[in-house]
Symmetry: C2
Subunit: 140 residues, 2 copies
């Protein structure tokens, strides 16, 4: 038994325009920007959890931070990740997205009783809002 | 004020071989596989948080689940994400990774007092283990 992982600290999403990304991740999804950068901005998803909004192509190179290397990274293609929402906010989310002219691509009801809403960010990434009842470590 | 996001539910990583991925994410990092699939497997990172291990190229197409569409997704390139670890386990993690012949690429000490360890999964993804003291929503 080795040392333990506690939780997710950072989930990335790769975008092509940081302002447009802010309009979506802050303006529509309501996340607060904790750190604003030209290459990477960080949004507060929950205590101890960050969404890294990475400008595609600008993060490829390694950078030096306080004398140490932070490796570059990149992703091309329509990526995917999911945020967790309360099951009693599904209707409010659907209405909220409609109000922002965000097309709901799909709504899936999972065998465990959970619900997922799928839609796109402005860069074709597949964003999911999911409830309890999707994964075994998060029962209804 | 719209409906709220609670937390990260799913973080993806794209891999080229599911068995090799399991050897790394379970065998080295110690995560339990909650769901095993040919296209996607899900690992238990923490209660309510999943790592989605996605076989690159096999998740591109939309699939139908119980009559509803789950949109396809894809990422090419060396992706990135971070797991959170306790600050008093840094040395144990370095030793643990060495024991598994995983090369530590970098160790960064952040202004807020946190530490990040960077290394690669077998598919060149940049895996980070980070402590408190990196982001404003997770002070030391």
């Amino acid at each position: 038994m080795g040392p333990q992982i506690l939780s997710v600290l950072e989930t990335p999403v790769y975008v092509d325009d940081m302002e447009q990304a802010h309009d979506f991740y802050h303006g529509v999804l309501g996340l607060t920007r904790m750190m604003e950068g030209a290459r990477v901005s960080a949004y507060d998803v929950a205590p101890t959890q960050a969404l890294l909004v990475c400008l595609r192509g600008a993060c490829d190179e390694d950078v030096m931070v306080r004398g140490a290397l932070v490796p570059g990274h990149r992703a091309d293609g329509p990526g995917h990740f999911a945020f967790r929402i309360a099951i009693d906010t599904i209707d409010a989310w659907i209405e909220h997205l409609e109000g922002h002219k965000i097309a709901l691509e799909s709504r899936v009801e999972w065998p465990g009783g959970g619900t997922s809403l799928y839609f796109r960010d402005p860069f074709d990434n597949v964003v999911e809002l999911g409830t309890a009842g999707i994964w075994p470590n998060d029962p209804l």
